[in-house]
């Protein structure tokens, strides 16, 4: 065949691509200077060098070790002054618990001299060896329940929105625009803020937290589910449409079976994200482990903070494994 024409091999990138790449680099350069990326790199580099012992010290490494070091040893026991326990019955201690008498010297700031002064105290305490762990576990369970319901409601709101926004499900551009705007709206309000408002509407308690998580999660799922459905292989759906199947039938028998693994992954992502977000919004009074974490931090109980962080990590990790398992089964 025509061999001169055969020489036509398309060029790998055009001037447009090159221009876009240059513009992007320039943008990164300018913004990078404004947000001090250079300093970040040099500080991190120093910390890395300090970590391997090449330079004696670095601000960052010091700062890290100062705080991170305090997280250990983890705090897993509780000790409670028995005098503060209502109806305390020494004959009937909780499981594994025992009573100790401790003498403590605490420092207090004397408002007159402005000096710290030691003060000795002797108290009888009830020691529960894994009491704190049990407490954190209970809080975590509560957090998970909040996260679970936040996810359930997010799916209930987000899925219909996703249907409305997906090009291959909803053909009317007006409806799609409406659903898209609702999704943007749900995603644009930071949970922290919606939680503050919801607490006022629903009162303090888990409901406000659940709804704050659910609203944002609904926006996320609306977006992700919609994009997932648009990104599928269109041919199976086309085959059903060709036979005259309704949109419902196409959805149930061509779209959902294909999209299920992604849907599950996204829902599980919302679940585990909700769990971590509950640590933030819990602070406004929505239950869960958030207040415990914030409170312990504010009380300088870094050992407790460490325990909480480790528990969160374990739960996220286990959720991840479970999610991977589910996804693979659905794949």
């Amino acid at each position: 065949m025509n061999s001169t024409a055969a020489w036509h091999y398309p060029s790998p990138f055009g001037t447009r691509t090159v221009a876009i790449v240059i513009a992007a680099l320039a943008l990164l350069w300018i913004t990078g200077q404004r947000v001090e990326i250079g300093r970040m790199i040099s500080m991190t580099g120093e910390a890395a060098l300090a970590a391997v012992g090449l330079i004696p010290e670095s601000e960052v490494a010091d700062g890290f070790s100062a705080v991170a070091g305090k997280l250990f040893p983890l705090q897993i026991s509780t000790s409670t002054e028995v005098s503060r326990i209502e109806n305390f019955d020494p004959a009937n201690l909780p499981l594994f618990a025992h009573i100790e008498t401790v003498e403590t010297t605490t420092q207090a700031l004397n408002p007159d001299t402005l000096e710290m002064e030691p003060r000795a105290e002797r108290t009888t305490v009830l020691v529960e060896p894994v009491g704190y762990l049990v407490h954190v576990a209970a809080k975590m369970l509560e957090t998970l329940e909040i996260a679970l319901w936040g996810t359930v409601i997010a799916i209930l709101i987000g899925f219909p929105l996703a249907l409305g926004a997906a090009r291959n499900i909803t053909h009317s551009p007006a409806l799609r625009g409406l659903a898209g705007a609702a999704i943007s709206l749900l995603r644009s309000i930071p949970e922290m803020i919606s939680a503050l408002f919801l607490v006022i509407a629903y009162g303090f308690g888990p409901i406000a937290g659940i709804l704050a998580l659910a609203f944002y999660g609904a926006g996320y799922l609306g977006k992700v589910y919609g994009e997932d459905m648009e990104g599928l292989d269109p041919r199976p759906q086309e085959a059903l449409a060709a036979g005259g199947a309704t949109m419902l039938a196409q959805l149930r028998w061509a779209v959902l079976p294909q999209a299920m693994p992604r849907f599950i992954a996204a829902a599980l992502y919302v679940l585990d994200r909700n769990m971590r977000m509950a640590t933030v919004i819990g602070i406004v009074g929505a239950g869960g482990i958030g207040q415990e974490l914030k409170g312990r931090y504010d009380m300088y109980d870094y050992g407790h903070v460490g325990t909480i962080l480790v528990v969160i990590f374990l739960v996220v990790f286990l959720l991840d494994r479970a999610a991977a398992h589910l996804r693979r089964a659905a794949l």
Binding site: R235, G243, P257, M260
Partner: protein, 259 residues
């Protein structure tokens, strides 16, 4: 009732990227006819077939099904009367063979059945009988469609197209991935179905022998234009050369038949 089953009127198609797939094609397929569409690769066969149920929209001309104009409003009821066999099968890979065949019956089912997947016994029986008639036995029924061999997938697609006893069958290379034995079985099946129920068949093929054996009428496209329209007997060597270009199909030319 004398409107042709399918009627293409001065159809043209230019894809958004500028490719010209069809050019002023007019063709009437009367009811009950088994019409085979021949043509070299890229001639526009799939495009033409996909216009008969508006999976592709013509950029020029119009399409009438049983005398009715195929518009956005009429497309739903018209599609229910049409069964289509897709060139790339278009199965839902993650569903079982049984479910894939059953999807062909979805347009006839109410929303509850569609949602729950609780299908009437009659349809289940029908799905199994269709599977059997394309040579897929009970052990295949609960396997995932994407674990089938190429030819097995094609056969699932064929069974699916017949679930609702279509009045019109659009078949895009239905036997490309099948061995000669099953190919003839299946084309025979399609022809019998059509004869018994008075259904119309428009079927693209690459195998000239099969076209000759089964077609009532043969039409051919080349570079998006209709270049042949006649009976199987009219399809002589010079016609074949006009369709496929100078050299003509080699297996015949180089003595393939003589072996």
């Amino acid at each position: 009732m004398d409107a042709p089953a399918i009627s293409f009127r001065n159809i043209g198609k230019r894809y958004p990227d500028g490719t010209r797939a069809l050019d002023d094609v007019s063709l009437d397929v009367p009811r009950g006819q088994f019409c085979v569409l021949l043509g070299p690769s890229g001639a526009g066969k799939s495009t033409l077939l996909r216009m008969a149920n508006r999976l592709a929209e013509p950029t020029e001309g119009r399409v009438l099904i049983e005398g009715r104009d195929l518009t956005l409003r009429t497309v739903k009821p018209i599609r229910r009367r049409i069964g289509m066999i897709h060139q790339s099968f278009n199965l839902v890979g993650r569903l079982s063979v049984a479910s894939n065949i059953m999807t062909g019956a979805l347009p006839a089912l109410g929303p509850t059945r569609v949602l729950t997947g609780l299908f009437p016994e009659t349809l289940k029986t029908k799905a199994c009988m269709l599977a059997a008639s394309v040579g897929l036995g009970p052990p295949h029924m609960s396997r995932r469609a994407d674990s089938l061999s190429g030819g097995q997938q094609q056969r699932v697609g064929i069974a699916r197209a017949f679930m609702l006893d279509p009045a019109i069958v659009l078949a895009d290379e239905p036997v490309a991935s099948l061995d000669p034995r099953i190919s003839t079985d299946i084309l025979g099946l399609i022809r019998d179905q059509a004869r018994v129920r008075g259904a119309t068949v428009l079927c693209s093929l690459h195998q000239i022998e099969l076209a000759r054996a089964f077609a009532d009428r043969i039409v051919a496209l080349r570079h998006g234009r209709l270049v042949f329209d006649g009976t199987p007997a009219d399809l002589d060597r010079s016609a074949i050369r006009a369709i496929y270009g100078e050299a003509g199909p080699v297996p015949i030319a180089s003595g393939g038949l003589a072996a």
